[in-house]
Symmetry: C2
Subunit: 346 residues, 2 copies
């Protein structure tokens, strides 16, 4: 029998947990119960978790509860939270990878604490200088990987090149049949544009570009991120964080305005009867829960961070993301790409 | 009689000019012909301009044509374009401020060339180290000023503080009755977040914050830009450019998807009959032509850059922006703010 994909879940992190984490898990189990290739370890308060499992009448065939009495609170400062993190549900969830009990860890808890603990426990891969937080971003033809989204405020050209290798490995684990196209986020598409760091990274990525790992497409501007002509968009954590949040804010502004316009009077309300299904599909396409889950890359084990404020459906998508990442052999893809990076092409 | 507001317009810059520039001017004149307080100088090919003026039966009471035989072409590299720029319509349009013939200059021509020429001719204000490109950004309650949008790739804390003074002066010239609220774009809202440069700028802006010039509100994240709780958003030109373009790309992605959803089948087309006016208003609120015009600040004279690809309506909004800026005494507001900056509060 092949080894099962084991996902460690911090059942207690984020708003409204463990209710939402367990409800999300029940959705995942419903959709995947026929695939006999995974196992779930749940970290947190045994009684509270069992109460929720019973509510959703989840069979324990696919899962195990590992009792962790304490939880990282959102009220603590990151510093004290990290200090007091040992044996919390989050700590145990990450630590299970070291013990060989899991292939990937998932939490909806405090982002800063999760990044620090993950790095402490799993350690950086020795060939890399910085880890990165990668996200999925919808585009015309499917989905981009964008990184770094905020793990590193200052990045040099070496970091950006490593992010390209990490991001394209992630993309290949999610879409095994694609050759990732990689672009570098910049203020213009011409070679002479941008900071010195970007120009150096451009040159190095051009040298590394090959059919077997990724194809470097050059610079991309902010207005082209969603055009679907690239798969992996590389940037420093400061710019990536601001771009992502600006896109979120813009999307919210537009959809709020649209909602207001379409519920304004009796005529527009009648219009909604006729456009109901089309608008539902439109909404579903943009549903941020579908893209829930940022992937922390560059450690000796993958960690996925769910939005703290998401609901059961969003958390379900994060579990599914974990499942796909391990199935696509992310760590092996990263190791291959790091060989590519470290051979003498640079 | 009070001195008239004189606007110098490069009639030849941008796509489809001088047709669109003159049509835009005709819209402006229609809306403002009762205000006997402005005058327009048009720079470009006299014959071509006159042909268009006649098409729109524009009276010459409010304007003068200054013939300029050559035009900066979009095909030239910025370097050769700048070299060959003397006596082009763009050059003459900017230079008219030095000669005392205009209060502000407007062009839809090549951005890079416009920035270089403007700086060569008008020179930096002596108290400042870098100029900035500011834009108008819609929000829930009206409009933000955001700067820098790409004039400077690398900025230090001193630059950011100067941008705050420039941006709040611009805001006051557009909204004379408001006290501008200034925020600094960052990856988090807590004081400890961000780069060293941002932390220094935060401290300095906190010291400069007072009732008479601007009130500093601290950091703002990308997803809050459109919330309407601040008036002036300060960032470096790299981040500002990427945030602006990412917002543009996101808006386009969403509205394209919406359009596709609402024209999909006979039912959705029927729905459009009922929602026609509401959707028209929705579209109008987001119309980028309303926000057309980036303002180049920090020189000894204001210069407005219209989008090259905009149409007559967009160009009309740029002319209107020029008119409001001069009416609101932008240069005087900037000088006041620079006094504020240079007194011993820093």
């Amino acid at each position: 029998m092949e080894k099962k994909i084991t996902i460690a879940i911090d059942a207690m992190g984020g708003d409204n947990s463990p209710k939402k984490t367990i409800e999300g898990l029940s959705l995942f189990l419903k959709k995947n119960f026929k695939n006999n290739d995974f196992f779930i370890n749940l970290y947190g308060d045994r009684d509270k978790i069992e109460l929720e499992l019973n509510k959703f009448s989840i069979s324990k065939k696919f899962l195990k509860i590992v009792h962790s009495s304490s939880v990282i609170s959102d009220d603590e400062t990151p510093l004290t939270a990290v200090k007091n993190s040992k044996n919390t549900s989050m700590w145990n969830c990450i630590n299970s990878q070291i013990k060989g009990d899991a292939d990937i860890s998932l939490s909806a808890g405090n982002t800063g604490v999760l990044l620090v603990i993950s790095r402490m426990i799993l350690k950086m891969m020795s060939q890399l200088s910085k880890p990165a937080l990668a996200g999925l971003w919808p585009n015309k033809s499917g989905m981009n990987v964008v990184l770094d989204l905020g793990a590193n405020i200052d990045c040099d050209d070496k970091n950006l090149v490593e992010f390209a290798e990490l991001g394209s490995a992630l993309y290949k684990s999610l879409y095994p049949h694609d050759k990732p196209l990689v672009s570098l986020l910049n203020v213009g598409s011409e070679e002479i544009k941008g900071t010195e760091i970007l120009k150096k990274a451009y040159k190095e990525l051009n040298n590394l570009s090959d059919e077997n790992n990724f194809i470097f497409k050059g610079y991309i501007e902010g207005n082209k991120i969603m055009d679907g002509n690239t798969n992996v968009i590389v940037t420093d954590g400061f710019t990536g964080n601001i771009a992502l949040k600006t896109a979120e804010g813009t999307a919210k502004f537009i959809t709020d305005n649209l909602k207001k316009s379409l519920t304004k009077n009796i005529l527009t309300k009648i219009s909604l009867i006729f456009s109901y299904f089309a608008l539902k599909k439109f909404k579903s396409r943009l549903d941020p829960r579908k893209y829930n889950g940022a992937i922390f890359l560059g450690l000796n084990g993958p960690v996925v961070k769910s939005h703290g404020g998401t609901d059961a459906i969003g958390f379900y998508h994060s579990i599914n993301l974990c499942y796909k990442i391990v199935k696509g052999n992310l760590l092996e893809q990263i190791r291959n790409n790091l060989n590519h990076l470290n051979n003498d092409k640079r």
